[in-house]
Amino acid sequence: MKKISLVAIAAFLSATVFFACSKSGGSDGPETAQGFDKTAMLTAYADNLIIPGYTAMQQQLVGLKAASDAFLAAPSGATQATLKQAYTAAHLQYERVAAFQFGPAETALLDIFVNFSGGLDYNFNTSGELTGFSVDSVTIEKNITNGGYNFQDMTRVSFYSQGFPALDYLYFGPNAIDKLNASPVKRKQYINDVLARLKSLADKVAGDWQAYRAGFINNTKTDVGSPIGSMVNQFAYQLDLLKGPRIGWPFGKQSNGMVFASKTEAYFAGISGVLAVENVSSLKKVYTNNGSGKGLSDYLVALGKTQLNTDVIAQFDLVTAKLGAVQDPLSAALTSNPAAVEAAYKEIQKLLTLLKTDVASAAGVQITYMDNDGD
């Protein structure tokens, strides 16, 4: 009797393992028949959101270059105003792809070189050092004067003197037009170098996605580095950035209310608020896959987490609304309208908790940016 049941169990398990281990030559047998089709979800992400996002980024940078050329050719209030529109459009487009910081973007260190946040693991209040969304104007001026800069340097100084922060300073910083008129050649050269670097990074990531796509849509795992694992981790990471360097830390959350107005994103352009709104509303678009019915939100519904999904979407909308209520420039609102900032901060925290605990847990994803064993 015992023997028979044991043999039966063993047979069953061998069958399971055989099925699990046997190489069946790719992903035959669609998962749709049994449940949620993750490959269809990932395909929609790649084709409708990610790759078009980087293509748009490339286009926006072309537009920015044109407006930049016009500004550099004839620096004036009028050309600067036109440039600001192009700059804002390009920076907003970056916010739309910010959450895709994995695969090609991770290889290229896109976020660090394009829009350095200072890092979450760095003490924002370190005195005498640049933190958060700062810009290193001293190094930028030194680079312009001395030349010989290398944008591939892996130093915080290097990150803070290129990408959008550098452009923000060079286009819209104090006396930007006067400085450009005073020493045009080297300054224009630097601006064009920063732009070229941005463009080459965007080109590289957009190009790499063509080859990366196949692996992306066919990897339906949820472990560290997997597409689903990475996207869910990015929800938490982007919300952490919003709670920290984008809003909370300049607001003085880490510093007993001492405000760091100049450490807001795109401080000189004064568009921190719209960037933050775009960041979080784009994140919602990632969560729902732009409402295509093939998003992580739909996956949660397929797993029976309908109420959670409803709450997450509502919380996304609430955060967007509260952030929208903070008038730009954010740098001024931090002191002139602290109640609105505080209200947005509170809702950001709630959204972060939902994404980091309930959503991650339901999706079988660990919020950790490192590989490790567990039990």
Partner: protein, 445 residues
């Protein structure tokens, strides 16, 4: 009665199972530590973090710096190799046990049940004459060769492995596991990438099957391994079960391989003699049977009795605590609760100065690695340790009387996240200890 029992434990038994165990254990440890090093975890886990969650009573255990940690791993690796070949065995076993245990004691957030198991086995190995055959030691000193050891030398290892299985099985006898098939129902839909088995992972009945089969397996496999007639089949099930867990849950690392290897100890002396047959030329079997004798066996057996009692009582200590074990985790560790729950948390801390009412929100990433933060967010004793550390940090930063408050949310087995600890309690003023932490909010279904 004691006579009968003593006889059962002290009768001579073949040394072969012990030899296989030594070689396999040594090799597995060598491979396992090498993998750990190769993945860069020595640096990630023991060099880069600026703060470590120490074990109560072992606060003196500190990481040894970049060179020191890698040197320690090198020493332990070498010890594992020496254990395998049975060279300077006793010293190697001591070095391995101390070195490995020291590493594990550095940071609670790296706790894994199989690391604890390895430490326990390594400790036992110190006292067992596992180098008396098929070892460099006996090659050098042929007079030390023995063919038999007191039976308890094998039995203690059997006991240790049995404890893992049976307690792991008992731990699964809870409503979430059996009635809701949690956490399997959460974990399995993430495994649809597996060929053939994948599409079934969305089916609730599969989660129930996994849950119930896992519980039955853990509870009873030992008895089938002990029974001579069912042993071979049972070991087949062991292999299949653990290979399956390795395929479905690669995140559990070396655990399946440790259990598959360790369970070989259940086999008879004759089986192991045959298994070791390929080493025969190397062994130079002694002319006649000789039994390894402990000069103070009674003391050994008495101490062993205490050890066994501790091993049985330790996993039951959770009964002394009020509240829901999975929620409070008081008495959770060192109890063979493997892959038992899906728990995730998010912890916000604020530090306030009692006198000036200055108010600071803490950025956890500034002090903890992502792994540390993840583990801390769901475990009350780690939350408290971290809160005390934060108080110390802010004291150093010039705050007179730092108060630390936590707003922590935790989700357990698919339930919606809830407030985990009383956010109005100054955690800096709460003592670390073995008593129940009153500031952990009661579990709600």
């Amino acid at each position: 009665m004691t006579g009968i029992n003593a006889n059962r434990f002290t009768r001579p038994a073949s040394i072969a199972p012990l030899i296989t165990f030594r070689i396999a254990f040594g090799l597995l440890m060598f491979a396992s530590l090498l993998r750990f090093w190769w993945r860069g975890w020595v640096t990630d886990i023991y060099v880069l973090p600026q703060f470590h969650f120490t074990y109560q009573g072992f606060e003196w255990v500190r990481p040894l710096g970049n060179t020191g940690m890698h040197a320690l791993f090198a020493v332990v690796l070498l010890a594992a190799l020496f254990i395998t070949i049975g060279f300077l065995y006793r010293i190697s076993a001591i070095v391995f046990f101390l070195g490995f245990t020291y590493i594990e004691l550095i940071d609670v957030t790296t706790y894994l049940n199989h690391y604890y198991f390895i430490s326990l086995v390594a400790f036992l190995m110190i006292w067992l004459p596992a180098n008396r055959r098929y070892a460099v030691d006996t090659l050098l000193r042929p007079g030390n060769r023995r063919t038999e050891v007191p039976a308890w030398c094998i039995q203690v290892l059997i006991f240790q492995i049995s404890a893992v299985y049976v307690f792991a099985g008992l731990a699964k006898l809870n409503a979430d596991w059996l009635l809701d098939a949690q956490p399997m129902r959460t974990w399995l839909p993430a495994k649809t990438h597996l060929p053939l088995a994948g599409p079934f992972m969305y089916k609730p009945w599969v989660a129930y099957l996994f849950s119930w089969f896992g519980a039955v397996y853990d509870l009873f496999i030992v008895f089938f391994l002990l029974n001579k007639r069912t042993r071979v089949y049972a070991y087949g099930v062991v292999l299949i079960f653990h290979i399956a867990t390795a395929v479905f849950f690669p995140g559990i690392g070396m655990f399946p391989y440790v259990m598959m290897t360790a369970s070989l100890i259940f086999f008879s002396g004759e089986f192991h003699e045959r298994l070791l047959g390929f080493l025969r030329g190397f062994s130079m079997k002694p002319e006649q049977n000789s039994v390894y004798r402990y000069s103070k066996q009674k003391i050994f057996l008495a101490v062993l009795g205490v050890y066994v009692a501790i091993q049985i009582l330790l996993p039951l200590r959770f009964l002394l605590y009020p509240g829901h074990l999975f929620w409070t985790e008081e008495g959770y560790r060192f109890s063979w609760r493997v892959m038992l729950m899906e728990k995730a948390g998010n912890a916000y801390f604020t530090v306030k100065d009692q006198t000036s009412r200055a108010f600071f929100v803490v950025n956890n990433a500034e002090f903890l690695t992502p792994l540390q933060e993840k583990m801390m967010s769901t475990q009350p004793d780690l939350i408290l340790k971290y809160a005390h550390h934060l108080a110390e940090i802010y004291r150093q930063r010039g705050m007179q009387h730092p108060e630390v408050y936590g707003e922590i949310y935790v989700t357990l087995n698919g339930r919606r996240s809830r407030l985990f600890v009383d956010s109005t309690v100054n955690l800096a003023a709460q003592p670390l200890g073995w008593e129940h932490y009153q500031w952990v909010l009661p579990y709600q279904k």
